[in-house]
Symmetry: C2
Subunit: 401 residues, 2 copies
Amino acid sequence: MRVSNSIRDNFGRSSWIRRMFEEGRKLRLELGDAAVYDFSLGNPDIEPPAVFGEALERFALDVRRGTHGYMPNAGYPHVRAIVAAHASTEQGLTIPADNIIMTVGAAGAINVALRTILDPGDEVIVLKPWFAEYWFYIQNFGGTFVGVDTRADWHLDLGAIEKALSPRTAAIIVNSPNNPSGVVYGREELAALSELLSRHGRASGRWPCLIADEPYRQIVYDGVEVPSIMALYPETIVATSWSKSLSLPGERIGYLAVSPDAANAREILDGLTLSTRILGFVNAPALLQRVVAEIIESKADISSYAHRGRILTEGLRASGYEFPDPRGAFYVFARVPPRSVASPEDPRDDVAFVMHLKERRILGVPGIGFGAPGNFRLSFCVPEKTIRESLPGFAEALKAW
Amino acid sequence: MRVSNSIRDNFGRSSWIRRMFEEGRKLRLELGDAAVYDFSLGNPDIEPPAVFGEALERFALDVRRGTHGYMPNAGYPHVRAIVAAHASTEQGLTIPADNIIMTVGAAGAINVALRTILDPGDEVIVLKPWFAEYWFYIQNFGGTFVGVDTRADWHLDLGAIEKALSPRTAAIIVNSPNNPSGVVYGREELAALSELLSRHGRASGRWPCLIADEPYRQIVYDGVEVPSIMALYPETIVATSWSKSLSLPGERIGYLAVSPDAANAREILDGLTLSTRILGFVNAPALLQRVVAEIIESKADISSYAHRGRILTEGLRASGYEFPDPRGAFYVFARVPPRSVASPEDPRDDVAFVMHLKERRILGVPGIGFGAPGNFRLSFCVPEKTIRESLPGFAEALKAW
């Protein structure tokens, strides 16, 4: 047997995040854990709230018949009702329980959505800087990835999106709060996006599906508002998870919510349910469904992210690094500083700068991994000590660049 | 937005199992639960063993840092090592921990395997009678489903398989113990299959991957042996789950094991790991991985399946129904009796016979749903009382046919 051509090609596209993580592993083996400042992975490092363990314990002891058996592919009816009420509050419109599909995390959710709407050759618009995995998710089902520029501050460039729309546009993925940039798109730019997509829908007869990928909705700073895209554009599917808000990414629990205003909501929901089944998810893990429904209003103590983000951003800025302040998620996406030492290469070569940081035992991810060369990403879900001790290295790196 | 053409077409192919389950739901609403004899679903109805709840409880209280976080996409290293030791004993050859990929159930496992090996247009051989979901799994990644006949007793017809092999054959799926027929393929026929596939591999240069779908391996009767296919054919990937053996299909936990003798094992494993990630599974649920590793030698008390299977098979046979005795799994796959009343239709029309049973409030699934018209499937994971009380209805149905 052999791997498919598409998978073999994908080996070459292997994730920069994983690659840097691998570099980190080698460095740690060589120098010891404490000597390496690893900002490469977005793995939440705080614990789930105490109520999570308590709910889990209660259910562990609950041995009623069939509690670990199959349920409808879309999820337990009572869980979908609870999630629908929660999502309705968050999104500011009434979402019926039928419009919720429980999923294996947000990554599972997006795959289920794309399996449902993509025919081979259909296009999916993705905004810069993007979560690199989208490329694979789209390719899984024969779709075409259409990367689109945003403005210098990473906010929406409606002209660029308009140019990218075509009769083959099946969907646009909008990730806010954004990984890696930390940008939260504002209400006005989202309303203008809705207007643009609606105009395209009316003119072409094909309304693009807007997939709102929102796993970081709960992780925002300074009270910033995350506007509801679903309330602004009817053809919206929200894909999200509890991985970040409850800090349990390894457990794989999330959901899809289809706007009650979507024209073909019923057919889309039937499609999402079928895709959940035939992609082999079958259903979101039973136990986790029941647990998240039980503690739906809880979240992990994310206050330490704000604290750690502040230490990192202030430290970097004091050294002369430039970046938009993260408004959500837990990343700084900084510009590679201009080179003071003359170089024949791209003066803002992000891969070279990340390797330059690595010489100071600091690990980040080059922007090219997010379609945005000339930048680099630092995750601040790392210990405060790591951040503080790394700051002199960042300062030195900039001086020596 | 709209659903893709492929999903819309699939609505029409909707599962006969689900359709009959839906019929059952209506009938129960109309007549009450107790009045309906529902043999349509293969949903294990016994409880997980007590050690499962105990392990779950221990882990619920175990709040060490990161226990619900990401781990490598293939699973926890310690879990893979424990599963490898278990699988090695089962399969009778030494499988290294690296050859195990933890998955979201067996359905997730097969999708991951097919994503890894299929290019569009590649063919996958599936043996009659087949689990209907294979058709979708193959279609997900642009593969072509090649249904192949077996003998009248459902054992392998090597001539038919030989005719179906082509240079486009990427894989063959072998499900033993078989759903729906209850057949367990014997060592000799499997050795002959290995010989045939090897001959094809040597001649064509393309060795078909044999996907051994084994979720029912533990559910066998009268001490029947389930030979290890992996020990007979080197290019084998075992796909399985704990859904049946621990009776927890809703929790979605299983694994893939790649033969240590496979020619490209390392590349295949890298592909399976990548596919796990990019299909959005990311990893098998963290908690369930740890629990199954903890209780790997346990199984649910499946003795009642044997008991209930005996009551159903003896009862049916006494009325005059014909079928091979189920050697594994929990289904009877019976022949539609010849019609005594003249009919212009197919005298063995399984859909008509299933509707005929439904008039007696008995629900089964027509064989056409498994590629084998002229038969019908009855699941015996239903209460003993249901079986006993349904028997007069079965007898009547046969007389009135």
